[in-house]
């Protein structure tokens, strides 16, 4: 979870949009990492799901972290 405690006052509209996107990416990544498929779902499709889920969660996290870095660097105002 990322805290944006350094922000005081209302963010600009662009920063607000970046924050919204970061939040949505973070939520999707967390859901992918925490959700547990049903035990009665097994076989090749389940294996394929598990490996894709790990890849997509990693990509969502990477994009999220890059947005956080961008915001922290002050490149967005």
């Amino acid at each position: 979870m990322t805290e944006f405690s350094y922000l005081t006052g209302a963010p600009t509209q662009t920063v607000g949009h970046w924050l919204a996107l970061a939040g949505a990416l973070n939520s999707a990544s967390l859901t992918l990492r925490q959700a547990v498929p049903d035990s009665l779902w097994f076989g090749p499709s389940r294996q394929s799901f598990d490996s894709s889920a790990a890849e997509i969660a990693a990509e969502l996290t990477r994009v999220h972290e890059e947005i956080v870095f961008l915001l922290n660097s002050g490149a967005v105002s």
Binding site: Q13, T14, H17, W18, A20, L21, G23, A24, L25, S27, A28, T31, L32, A35, V36, P37, D38, L40, W41, G43, S45, R46, S48, F49, S52, A53, E55, I56, E59, L60, V63, E66, I67, L70, A75, V76
Partner: protein, 426 residues
């Protein structure tokens, strides 16, 4: 007995399973991407990151579809297991019925004696409030599980469905008849309910005996069309004494009829058509007071057999909504129900049904086990409220509460599952 036919429960969407959770996240991500697109694409950083997020979102959508396929496989396996359980419970009920006469002969005197002791002790407690015996009973009652929590247990809910489905098997066994096969009109939950109503009339009881109803228009207000499931469910009248039980909205394209749930839980008819008598007569597939009142109100509102109608109902209102659609008296295109005991209503395939049920709500189970039938237009939406936390104490049926079904409708609106798309379902 499990009646096969076009009953509710053909397909099920679990809004709280993995597929439902992923679809909800895809919906959130896609809406955010669309909302921020213009603002972020103006910079090179923005373009790159937005595109990558968009690509990840597309992959997530494909993954959610794969999870939905997994849910489908799971549902098929669960359906097989459920069929085996249904057959086993049906046979068990029939055999218990067969043994019942012998059990009554063997243990009847002991049961009657035990009941006499219980009633004597209860009477003694009422006569001597605050006595040591009363205090012991108070302490004992405090240790008993909360009735609302007990009735919200999913095992109790499942057992209730099997007991209701096996009621006719039990009666057949007790009468020494062969086990019902599911064919013919003399068996089923409706036949058992009709038997109870007739039996009560024969012994001169007023219980479950219908009386006439009247309808009065109490209010006319302007209304905007419902846009989603939350709008539909939140407009269902609350089950409150003295309040209107029916709401009808008129639009250029047709009508939406909303029906509330049971108000009076008493066994004997009062001035309230939304009572237990209506529940029993509705399950018996006879004209219940609430059904008659609904038809009268629809006529008073000017609805004709040619008008398009959408029926929406909670609990008993949902059962009546389905029965109006099944009757063919009106051109009902859609039925949306929450917590309704409609598993035995045979709806035509051309009627779109969305039956929303909580796993911990015992009321839909009173109509027995949902018949599995492959009808693409009939959909059951299931949500578990108390997977990680226990049901609240002190509430009679917390999972049956209309407010909680409004929450579930909100979850459905943001689930992103294509089967729940209101545009697709018309």
């Amino acid at each position: 007995m499990i009646r096969l036919g076009a009953g509710a429960g053909a397909d099920t969407v679990y809004v709280d399973d993995l597929s439902g959770q992923l679809h909800a996240r895809v919906w959130q991500l896609e809406h955010t991407l669309a909302a921020v697109r213009a603002s972020l694409l103006v910079s090179p950083h923005g373009y790159t990151l937005w595109s990558r997020a968009q690509h990840a979102s597309e992959r997530l959508r494909n993954l959610a579809a794969a999870a939905a396929e997994g849910s489908h496989q799971y549902a098929q396996r669960e359906r097989i297991l459920r069929g085996v359980a249904e057959e086993a419970s049906s046979t068990l009920m029939w055999n218990v019925g067969r043994l019942m006469p012998a059990l009554v002969v063997a243990y009847g005197p002991a049961i009657v004696g035990g009941l006499a002791i219980v009633f004597t002790l209860a009477a003694a407690r009422r006569l001597m409030p605050g006595s040591p015996f009363d205090r012991v009973m108070d302490a004992f009652e405090r240790r008993l599980p909360d009735s609302g929590q007990l009735l919200s247990n999913s095992v109790v809910v499942q057992a209730t469905a099997h007991l209701a489905s096996g009621a006719d098997d039990f009666v057949a066994g007790m009468l020494g008849l062969p086990k019902p096969t599911g064919q013919g009109s003399f068996w089923g939950e409706d036949a058992v309910a009709a038997g109870v109503i007739t039996g009560a009339a024969v012994v001169g009881s007023r219980a479950f005996q219908e009386s006439s109803v009247r309808v009065k228009n109490v209010q006319v207000t302007p209304s905007s069309p419902p846009e989603n499931y939350e709008d539909l469910v939140s407009r269902i009248p609350r089950a409150e004494e003295g309040a209107a039980q029916i709401r009808i909205e008129k639009y250029d394209s047709g009508y939406v009829v909303y029906l509330g749930g049971t108000i009076d839980a008493g066994m004997e008819p009062s001035g309230e058509p939304w009572d237990m008598t209506s529940n029993m007569t509705a399950i018996a597939e006879m004209d219940s007071g609430s059904y008659t009142a609904t038809i009268k109100a629809m006529r008073e509102a000017g609805i004709s057999a040619e008008d398009n109608v959408i029926m929406v109902g909670h609990s008993q209102g949902g059962l009546v909504a389905a029965q109006v659609a099944a009757s063919g008296e009106y051109r009902v295109s859609d039925v949306v129900t929450v917590g309704a005991p409609l598993h035995q209503v045979e709806l035509p395939e051309e009627v779109h049904l969305v039956a929303i049920e909580h796993s911990e709500d015992v009321i839909p189970s009173l109509s027995g086990v949902a018949a599995p039938a492959a009808v693409a237009t009939h959909l059951t939406v299931n949500r578990s409220l108390y997977q990680s936390t226990p049901p609240p104490k002190g509430e009679v049926l917390p999972a049956h509460n209309l407010s909680r079904y409004i929450e579930t409708a909100r979850v459905m609106d943001t689930s992103g599952d294509h089967k729940l798309s209101t545009e697709q379902r018309g």
